[in-house]
């Protein structure tokens, strides 16, 4: 039932909303590794993802800051798959995006590039400037952290079949 509800919300949104945000960069943390050879395998795998222009690594924390040639063509699924192909998992993925007076609240959504962000557990607010969105879907966040947000979220195709819906929250700073 929940997913049907979500489809209706998203379908409504698709009909009325132009893109009101722009992805700037992605920061991800990988899990399952310590050594630099493993870290380099992920680094090399991320570099091969289409549209990635630059990857900056923090080996000690297994963390990668990723920038893009064309942020409009970013595929978060491909970034996740690159980490998995290297033999590891995504522990956390944050998308930094620039907003211009975008109204959001829990259970509202925004379309950005080829995907739709469905907001979870946030107060009503207008987003302005750069914000970091934490992806809550399965395989994008450690299970123990996903539990904090109360749902068993997973990415799904939107009603039109072209976009993917990601569940996100804005971490309280």
């Amino acid at each position: 039932m929940k997913s049907i509800h979500l489809y209706i919300v998203v379908l409504g949104l698709l009909l009325q909303s132009p893109a009101i945000g722009q992805i700037q960069s992605v920061t991800l943390q990988a899990s399952g590794l310590t050594c630099s050879m493993c870290s380099r395998a992920i680094y090399k795998s991320l570099q091969k993802v289409p549209s990635v222009s630059k990857v900056q690594e923090d080996i000690e924390h297994s963390s990668y800051h990723i920038q893009f040639v064309d942020p409009g063509k970013v595929s978060l699924e491909n970034l996740k798959k690159a980490v998995q192909d290297a033999g590891f998992s995504v522990a956390k993925m944050e998308v930094k995006a620039n907003f211009n007076n975008a109204f959001v609240a829990s259970d509202s959504s925004l379309k950005m590039s080829d995907f739709i962000f469905y907001f979870v557990d946030i107060p009503k607010q207008n987003l302005n400037g750069d914000k970091k969105l934490l992806i809550l879907d399965k395989d994008f966040l450690l299970d123990k952290d996903r539990k904090k947000y109360g749902g068993d979220y997973s990415t799904m195709p939107s009603a039109n079949g072209n976009d993917r819906i990601f569940h996100v929250t804005i971490e309280k700073s």
Partner: protein, 273 residues
């Protein structure tokens, strides 16, 4: 029983050392449960310098190996076996090793993995020992499982496999009446010593490794247990140099050259397939 209590005692000791200490799973004499990255290619040359028990000669064996990360779940090794046995350096066989990921649970700086593996080897050497060794001496196959736990700077693995030997090639038959089946088992641990803090992929890594490897012959009793400490350097997060010494702790079976050094070079090429 004496053999197994010794193995158990040593294994427990090894586990305790691991927990007290903290790369770790790039074992020198055994394989971890983890696979290599998908679409990567590794090349490896293992040089074995083993002391022959029958005399003062040194047996030299070279095993060049190509390793392929087919996808994130499957990896494949193709290896050749060369030896100076009989005085001249020559090829004696080839083998293939496949590993399949069965289970993987990742957390920050940790993982637990289980993999199944299989090996098929063809070898033309003459057989002078009871030990079944599918990487250096026997034609046959092996199937087994490996589990690996990584805990930050320390990794520990255990494996068990079933080994079946057949007649070797070049008219070198498997000795009649000698057990042709064995169970192999191993416990391995590795610890990342340097660097203390990672700043760059160019930092050289230094690891300490310890493998404990045993074999139990089926049908007729026969056992051995070897220990093999090793040091490992990883350069540029891409190339490896391993230097290890393997020695027999216990054996009640006939073996030709259980003790000696192994020196290995390995280089990994990312995203080439």
């Amino acid at each position: 029983m004496k053999f197994f209590s010794k193995f158990l005692y040593l294994s427990l000791g090894l586990i305790l050392i691991s927990y007290r200490a903290s790369s770790q799973e790039l074992y020198v004499f055994t394989e971890p449960a983890s696979n290599m990255p998908a679409k990567s290619l590794g090349i490896r040359a293992s040089n074995w310098l083993m002391y022959d028990k029958s005399g003062s000669t040194l047996n030299y064996q070279l095993i060049p190996e190509v390793m392929l990360g087919v996808n994130k779940n499957i990896m494949l090794h193709l290896d050749g076996f060369f030896t100076n046995q009989g005085g001249n350096f020559h090829a004696v066989g080839a083998g293939t090793y496949i590993k399949y990921r069965l289970y993987s649970a990742d957390a920050i700086n940790r993982h637990f993995r289980v993999a199944a593996f299989g090996r098929v080897s063809l070898n033309n050497s003459a057989i002078f020992q009871e030990e079944i060794d599918l990487t250096r001496n026997n034609t046959g196959y092996a199937v087994g499982v490996i589990a690996t736990q990584l805990l930050h700077r320390q990794a520990i693995s255990a494996s068990v496999s079933f080994n079946q030997a057949y007649n070797n090639g070049a008219e070198n038959k498997f000795p009649p009446g000698q057990p042709d089946q064995a169970i192999n088992f191993s416990i391995s641990t590795g610890r990342l010593i340097l660097p203390k803090e990672y700043l760059s992929y160019k930092q050289t890594n230094f690891n300490l490794m310890l493998d404990l490897m045993g074999q139990h012959l089926l049908k007729e009793n026969g056992n051995f247990l070897d220990m093999a400490p090793a040091i490992q350097f990883i350069f540029n997060s891409q190339s490896r140099l391993d230097i290890g010494y393997k020695f027999q702790l216990y054996s009640d079976m006939q073996r030709v050259a259980p003790n000696g050094f192994m020196i290995r070079f390995e280089h990994l090429l990312f995203n080439v397939l």
